[in-house]
Structure formats: C-alpha cells, structure tokens
C-alpha cells in the first residue's frame, strides 16, 4: 500500500510540517466521512430530543422544521447596507448574532482540529492558523452579506476565494498558517454534511411534471455539454468540462463543489466554474423575468423555466418572485427537485471517473473493480450514505420530514456553509493568479457554458410548456 498522501490510499503518512516527524493517520476522505457522519448524527439526535409535543407533523406550525437547540450555536452575518456592524443584528428577530457567529468560528476550528488529529497531524499546531482562517471566513461572510451583493446572488464562495487569493498572492502561506491549510478536508466534510440536505424524496414534490423537468432535461444537458467541451471544443481538462457542465445544468455552486470532488478537479478549475456560474446567474436573474413577460408566458410555465435554468437557488427564487407569488413557488420547487439530483450525479460521476476516465488516461492493466475502488473518492460514499439515510427518514411521514428539515435548517446547513467558506479561503490562499489566466484567456470554457446554457434554455422551456402548460395545466 502506498504510504504517500494520495486519494487512493486507505491511510497516509503525512510529513508533519512543524517538527518534521512522520505520523501515521487517516486519509482526509475517511476523516471527512467520520467527522461529517458524527455531526449529522449529533444534529439528528439533538433535534429529536427537542421534538414538539403538539402538532409535530404540521408544516405550517413549523415551517423551518422542528426546533434545533444547536441552531443557537451557529449563525452567519446578517444583511447590511453601509455599516458591517448592522450584520451583527438580525433585523427581523431583533436578535444579536455576535455570540452565534463566534461559536460558528469555534465549530470551524473544532472540525479542523478533529480532522488534523485523525489525519495524524500535530493538531495543536492547527490552532493559530485555524483561528486565523475562521476570522477570514467571517470576513468573507460579511462581504457576501452586503445587501447589494446578496440581492444579486454573488455568493460567499466568490468572496472567500477573493479573500484567500489576496492573502495568498500578497503575504503568502505563512509558516504558522500551513498546518491549518486543509481546504480539501473542509470541503469534503462540508460535502458529507451536504448529503443530509440532498433528499431524493423531494423529487416527488411536483409529481410527473417536476420529474420530467429535472430528470429528462438535466442529464441531457449535462452529458451533451460535457461531450461538446471534450470532443468539439477540445478543452484539455475533462474535469473542468464536467464541473462546468454540472454547475450549469444542475444547481450552480453546490453542484460544482460536489462534482469537482467526484471528478477530482483542480482548485483553479473549480474556481473558474464557480466564477462562470455566478457571472451568468446574475445576468439570467435580471434578464429572464422581463423576457418571460415579453413572451407572455403563463406564470407557472415561466416559473418552471426559471427554476430549471438559472443555476443558483437564491437567484431562482428572486427571479421567480419578481414574476409573482405562484411563479416563485413553482420556480423554487423545480429548483429544489433539481437540487435533489446532486447526490446521484456526484455518485455517477465518481464511478464514471474512477472506472473509465482515469483508466483510459493511464492505461493500467489491473482488475477493473479494484481500480475503480482504488480511485473512487471515498468521501462520496459518506455523502451518498448520509443522503440515503436522511431521505429514508424524510419519507417515513410528515413528522419525520420536519425532523430532518429542523436538523438541516438549524445546524447542518449553516455548518456546511462555514466549512465550504473556510475551504474556499484555503483554496484561494493556495492558488496563484497566474494559474487561472491561461484558462480565462482561451475563452473555451465560457463558450462551452454559453452554448450549454442555450441548450438548457430551449429544452427546459419545451418540457416546461409541455408539462406545466399542457399535461399538468393548472
């Protein structure tokens, strides 16, 4: 068995950057699976312990699911306009969120220290760098909470990358920061947590029309765009093609992160995919509602069109709501159904990559099953298992569905956000501006995105008109 840190080995010998001694520890995939799995279990248990005695299955009484005590320990900066201090107060509930923000930073450090311990690193060396990263994460969240930025869906990964790039390309990786730069571990742990939010059961919420919109159009667009990028545009990196195709056809940044993990895309490839997605999301969010009004489309069909094509969930709701309440509801539900596909797509991509793409690139003649297993990104198994477990609990009944929602809304979702954010800070610090330039200059990724999105727009409008405008007309 290989003793070098590679994604294929069960354990890895990691050269401790601080004292030079070799320590034996788990690979980050296993550490992410264990830590993520335990956090999901903890959240479900605490939500269950606080289950309401009355109306436990009434969604109107509990629109955010059952109350979760852990929600008091995690929050992110609230929307602000001119003074960032406004972000420390929740304007609606009039609650001060300073302490939950500080505790959330504590969760980041705690998760990082647990990972360092499992990966065989001297975890106390993680502390100074970990605290610094948590502070940078908080800054990135504050930048994304500015009202203009937030209302145009310029999500936190963009600002986390920017903050990281500024640090990495000015003062660089300081020696005391290096032990804490475990960005892949943070993102993989975030993805395992994310599994709890990817509920297959939600696919049924809109019945046949929803299934047709999400399950027919999305895979067609995903596969066609990927093949177009690889064989027609001849983009050298297949992982970049897959990451861009997934973020464009499924649901933006979250799909890009999950798929990039499954196909082992490089940091700069994921950064580029996210940048493209957010850029076009803003354009589509602003232009689609007037186009729908100009075409005089039915609001339900328009909502479904928006839900199936705009990448990011927040932008979908914003664009849908500007057409009307019902269009907003349909748009959000169609997007929610598409969101639920991430689990299957990430798993499918991981199998395809481990079994075919990497095999054809390296021409290794060993048993296919062993090769697939050796190359398979193991954290995807954790992501998938957590997703299956939470989807199963969700299907048991209305009470259980509110149990899962309460766990996700109260703790898992916010913590996943903090872990992704700190992961992107690490990625930014370790990325050189110069590595991004050649990909941007070639223009081929953007061509691929634009042509793929045009196909997505045409197909989604056709299917949405057929299903919501005819087959399942209101």
């Amino acid at each position: 068995m290989s003793l070098t840190p590679s994604s294929s080995s069960d354990t890895a010998t990691i050269l401790d950057s601080t004292d030079g001694s070799k320590k034996r520890g788990w690979h980050e995939d296993y550490a992410a699976m264990l830590v993520g799995g335990l956090l999901v279990f903890l959240s479900l248990c605490i939500t269950w312990s606080g289950r309401p005695s009355e109306d436990a299955g009434n969604r109107k009484a509990f629109p955010k699911g059952w109350p979760n005590e852990l929600s008091k320990s995690i929050e992110k900066p609230q929307a602000w306009m001119a003074n960032p201090i406004e972000g420390l107060n929740n304007a609606k509930s009039k609650k001060d969120v300073t302490l939950p923000i500080l505790l959330a930073m504590g969760w980041v450090v705690l998760v990082g220290m647990a990972g360092s311990l499992l990966m065989g690193r001297a975890f106390w060396w993680f502390l100074p760098g970990g605290l610094f990263l948590a502070a940078l994460t908080c800054i990135a969240y504050f930048l994304s909470a500015q009202k203009v930025i937030e209302s145009y869906n310029l999500e936190y990964p963009l600002w986390a990358l920017m903050v990281g790039l500024i640090i990495g390309n000015t003062v660089g990786e300081m020696p005391w920061l290096k032990p804490a730069l475990v960005g892949e571990y943070f993102i993989k742990t975030g993805l395992v947590l994310f599994g709890a939010e990817v509920l297959f059961s939600r696919l049924l919420e809109l019945g046949l029309p929803g299934l047709l919109t999400a399950w027919v159009v999305t895979p067609i667009v995903l596969i066609s765009t990927y093949l177009f990028g690889v064989y027609v545009l001849r983009i050298p990196s297949r992982a970049l093609c897959m990451t861009i195709s997934a973020d464009m056809s499924v649901c933006g940044v979250s799909a890009a992160i999950a798929t990039a993990g499954a196909c082992k895309a490089k940091k700069e490839e994921l950064s580029l995919a996210i940048g493209l997605s957010l850029f076009f999301t803003v354009i589509m969010m602003v232009t689609m509602p007037p186009i729908i009004r100009w075409l005089e489309l039915d609001s339900v069909v328009g909502g479904a069109w928006i839900g199936g094509t705009i990448d990011a969930t927040g932008a979908v709701v914003a664009a849908g709501e500007s057409l009307g309440k019902e269009a907003g509801e349909v748009a959000a539900t169609v997007k929610m159904i598409q969101n639920s596909m991430i689990g299957l797509i990430a798993f499918g991509v991981a199998v395809y990559w481990a079994g075919w793409v990497e095999k054809s690139e390296k021409k290794v003649e060993i048993s296919l099953g062993y090769e697939v297993w050796r190359r398979f990104p193991k954290f995807i198994i954790g992501f998938f298992l957590v997703s299956v477990l939470c989807s199963f609990i969700f299907t048991l009944g209305p009470e259980e569905s509110l149990w899962v929602d309460g766990s996700n809304k109260g703790f898992i979702g916010p913590l996943r956000g903090w872990l992704f954010c700190v992961g992107f800070i690490c990625m930014g610090i370790q990325t050189n501006f110069r590595q991004l330039a050649p990909m941007l200059i070639s223009g081929r990724p953007m061509t691929m995105y634009v042509l793929g999105q045009i196909l997505n727009l045409v197909l989604t409008l056709t299917v949405a008109s057929l299903t919501f405008g005819w087959l399942f007309k209101k």
């Binding site: 919420e205 019945g207 927040g314 929610m336």
Partner: protein, 79 residues
C-alpha cells in the same frame, strides 16, 4: 531586493488590497444600493422575504412550499 524589503512590500500590497475592498464595500456598494433600479430590486426582495444569496434550498428563509393546486393533486403522505 533584500528579504526585509520584500516582506515590507508584501504587507504593503496586502494593505492596498484591504483598502480597495473596504472602499468598494463601504463607499461604492452603498451608493449603488441607492440607485433607483437597484433600490427597487432590494425593496422587492425584502418585502417578499427572499434571501437571494442562498446557495441551496435549505439556505432560504423557509423551505419552499408547493403551490396549493399541486398540494391537492399530489399527496406526499396519503392517509
């Protein structure tokens, strides 16, 4: 260039970028928010309780609700 000078330059660049980011977020963006079109968009989002920066549906203020006419057609947990 001596190592000390190089280190000083690094911190100067960091300070420059920090100042640039602060200027954009504290001066430019609030002014942009006061433009008529942008202000209208912000008001609409606020009045509809929409968190447009949500990455995933669980990041929204509330879990999306299906339109009522669909609720009648498709029962998720039939009694």
């Amino acid at each position: 260039m001596s190592p000390i000078k190089r280190a000083e330059h690094k911190w100067f660049y960091l300070a420059f970028w920090a100042a640039a980011v602060s200027a954009v977020w504290l001066l430019l963006l609030p002014r942009l928010g006061r433009l008529e079109n942008v202000a209208e968009h912000l008001d609409l989002m606020e009045s509809r309780n929409v968190r447009a920066g949500a990455m995933y549906y669980t990041d929204l203020e509330e879990i999306p609700v299906r339109p009522q006419w669909i609720e009648k057609e498709i029962q998720l947990w039939p009694e």
